[in-house]
């Protein structure tokens, strides 16, 4: 199997940059005591990150995707099985697209 040096260098560069991101935030927090406002922000960050991920993704796909996303969310709230919620989301989008005749 082929492994080119330039490809390997690009992969290692990406891996190093990504590790710095993953470990960097915690490493900075460990050496400096952040101000209370930043600590409060960290408490609010998890939900905000995922909403900020989701909103543009749904907007880009149009209203059937919003319905499918809502179906996944409601399934999760009611039943609490993530694998099932994901399948319901995909199935609802699939059915809506089929019903609308869009590919």
């Amino acid at each position: 199997m082929m492994l080119r040096w330039d490809v390997l260098a690009a992969i290692l560069g990406m891996a190093l940059a990504t590790f710095l991101c993953r470990a960097g935030g915690y490493a900075i927090l460990r050496v400096t005591r952040p101000p209370p406002f930043v600590q409060a922000m960290l408490q609010h960050l998890p939900g905000a990150i995922f909403v900020a991920f989701l909103a543009p993704a749904l907007a880009q796909e149009g209203w059937p995707a919003c319905v499918a996303g809502a179906a996944a969310l409601i399934t999760q709230a009611r039943i609490g099985r993530m694998a099932l919620s994901i399948l319901v989301g995909v199935a609802v989008l699939w059915l809506l697209r089929a019903a609308l005749g869009t590919p």
Binding site: H44, P46, G47, A48, V51, L93, P103
Partner: protein, 241 residues
């Protein structure tokens, strides 16, 4: 004088915690499968060998960054551009590690830095929900992350080998799985009414940034930081009142 006893607190990195995390992660892998498939297919389309594709998936393990880097791939490989793209897109992971500090502070060495090395969005969400439930076992994060990592390797490999044969169109409903995973993750992260303002603002800001034509990671970073800042300001006002 009495010697202080070694701290007798419940272990912070247990096999049971690892198994719990792995089980929770397994339920989410179904959302990541199509995404891994796409990345494997993109690597094949750009001429990466199977070994190179698997090395990238194993060492980088960040889907959006890999997809963007593969989109701007050239011959010879764009070392600087790929590194920069990975750095910018994965900046969102930095505050995640910081937010998990109450769990991570209890472990050291390979357990600490190794857990951070495989941290991803979905395992972060599961670990935060676990932490808020009062369980502080860092092995939960490692278990969830490594399950997703194994799934990622398999799906990238499958995408690379069979991608040309499967040929799913880019807008196929199967690829909605990663978005549906994001939607269901919101449920365990929801704490109540007080989340409404930061979450709403995060969504509005992300949509605005997206509408202005900003690509990844900016809508996510702007939305997440803006929403979290609003939440922190709200907490501050409540504390003073």
């Amino acid at each position: 004088m009495q010697q202080p006893q070694p701290a007798e607190r419940p272990s912070s990195f247990t096999a049971a915690g690892f198994r719990r995390g792995a089980r929770a992660g397994l339920a989410l892998t179904i959302g990541l499968m199509p995404f891994g498939l796409v990345v494997g297919m993109a690597a094949d389309a750009r001429g990466l060998s199977l070994l190179e594709a698997l090395l990238m998936c194993g060492l980088v393990f960040a889907g959006t960054a890999q997809l963007v880097a593969l989109q701007l791939w050239t011959d010879p490989a764009p070392i600087l551009a790929a590194t920069l793209a990975a750095f910018v897109i994965n900046l969102r992971l930095a505050p995640m590690g910081a937010a998990l500090a109450p769990v991570l502070d209890r472990v050291q060495g390979i357990r600490l830095w190794g857990s951070l090395a495989v941290l991803v969005d979905n395992s972060f969400a599961l670990a935060i929900a676990e932490m808020r439930a009062g369980r502080r076992d860092a092995a939960f994060l490692a278990g969830a992350s490594l399950t997703m990592w194994a799934n990622w390797m398999v799906m990238c490999g499958v995408g690379h080998v069979f991608g040309a044969a499967v040929r799913l169109p880019p807008g196929h409903p199967v690829f909605f799985a990663s978005v549906a995973a994001l939607a269901s993750i919101l449920v365990p992260l929801w704490r109540g009414r007080a989340d409404l303002l930061p979450w709403g603002l995060a969504g509005v800001l992300a949509l605005a940034a997206h509408g202005l034509g900003l690509g990844p990671p900016w809508p996510v970073l702007i939305g997440a930081l803006g929403g979290a800042a609003a939440g922190a300001a709200m907490d501050g006002r409540r504390a003073r009142a």
